[in-house]
Homo-oligomer: 323 residues x 2
Amino acid sequence: MAVYTEVSDEDLGNFVASYDIGDVLSFKGIAEGVENSNYLLRTTQNSFILTLYEKRVDEQDLPFFLGLMEFLSGEGIPCPLPVSDREGNRLRTLAGRPAALITFLDGMWVRRPRNEHCAELGAGLAGMHLASTRFSMERQNALLMTAWREILGNCTGKLDRFENGLQTELEADLEQIASAWPTNLPRGVIHADLFPDNVFFLGGRLSGFIDFYFACTDFFAYDIAICLNAWCFETDGSFNITKAKALLRGYQSARSLSADEIAALPTLARGASMRFLVTRLFDWINTPEGAFVRPKNPVEYIKKLRFHRQIESASEYGLEQIS
Amino acid sequence: MAVYTEVSDEDLGNFVASYDIGDVLSFKGIAEGVENSNYLLRTTQNSFILTLYEKRVDEQDLPFFLGLMEFLSGEGIPCPLPVSDREGNRLRTLAGRPAALITFLDGMWVRRPRNEHCAELGAGLAGMHLASTRFSMERQNALLMTAWREILGNCTGKLDRFENGLQTELEADLEQIASAWPTNLPRGVIHADLFPDNVFFLGGRLSGFIDFYFACTDFFAYDIAICLNAWCFETDGSFNITKAKALLRGYQSARSLSADEIAALPTLARGASMRFLVTRLFDWINTPEGAFVRPKNPVEYIKKLRFHRQIESASEYGLEQIS
């Protein structure tokens, strides 16, 4: 929910004039996305999203993100296509920020995903993974064990407000996850932030993936683990195995999981909980009460972490062996 | 900058199905407007703004606001047209809030208005005033002297953070404004909140007025006074008489001001400063630091009030006598 950077009339005019996209009809800030400023730009030719990258995005990563979207679009994976200016640049500067123009995707994110959405998501995710193996750029996952440890360290002494002993509990978890973490699984580009608000649907069918600004090169199964957390728990904290089954079956309809991936899934899911838990804890602690952007409540992910801790086999997620 | 109320998939589906507007293609929260939640809704037929009215809007006033937009649209004044559902209702309930669907207006608001925008504004405002005399509904201005006095009273003891003696100064101003306030000037519907973000332009021409949720029946010249404050001061606080001249000339190109209106203009401008000053002071005092919606800084309007206090005649605003 955010527009952090205002764009002046002159700056917008000059920016748009650098592209072959027609004349501006409308320009409105969008109340979605917490990392960057997003505007909906309508011109006489088309609709676009104009993104101004704020401080949390490393400018050096932008060619990877934009290149990935362009590559996936070309592979038929529905996602925004970066638009180049008249000189062929996908990345420009606007209002002092790196800025890119991408095509507007029809569709809506689902506030309460149902089984059929999870099935569509699984199949779409597998398709994206398969396509990504032909993408040549790489980006290291910046949010793994080392980062979790550092972020958790920065929370020291401030977690009592959530629960006594939480810090010790999470530190122990972190070491267990680290020692069980797989070293060699099928890998490629993962989205790494595939929450419901980053997946669009139209008439019940998946119509697009957006917001690739955490994408990186990592284990495919870790992306699945992130989705299990983000799509298959109910608001009361309970795990919905029917949704997980739909997601995993959808995934395997396009790409079968290996025995190693299946064995690693509980550890990956525990790690995926830890990843979002530590960043949410950090944001919660470091955001003044009633702040401009409301941070997400970390408690949800404490529960998810504890749930995965007691999982012994991926079959408890509803995973069916594909013969 | 706001979306206060989330709309569930089911609620949106049911809502849209009540209208003859095609199928939903996209639904995005807009980061504009501080009073209500606004969504941009695109369907297979058209684009719309879906507004959910939050607590600051009195539900009883909504028929007036929606009726006014419908009336003005019919008179050729560019503004959003409320869309009726299949049963003829312009006002429905969505996510527990009163909600209305209005047509999407092309155009952008101007971040830094120039002379030519002020001229367009003046002419457009006069056109709206003239048309409004044929509108049959009435709504009292809820933000006049009595309300200012009450709001200022609620700030007692809390204005020292801005300036010592501010409360006393404003109370004296308020009484002077009240005693000089005109009793009989040409009246009709005024917009009463015509800041630059409520006026759209396209290719340098005024393309629409939006956000009629302060509109009421009052002196036309008071609307002009609000615009002088909102459009004709520079960011350094200086009054730009060239812009004011353009605005007033534009206005009088469509509707001549009477001698009484001209004589009252300095008092009305002083009152218009007081009106926005007291609400901004109140919001500033009552919003926690770093809050979700950043209140507008009141200091700008303290300066405007002091400027108008020393004005003796409307000619100091650049008003030219129309012979």
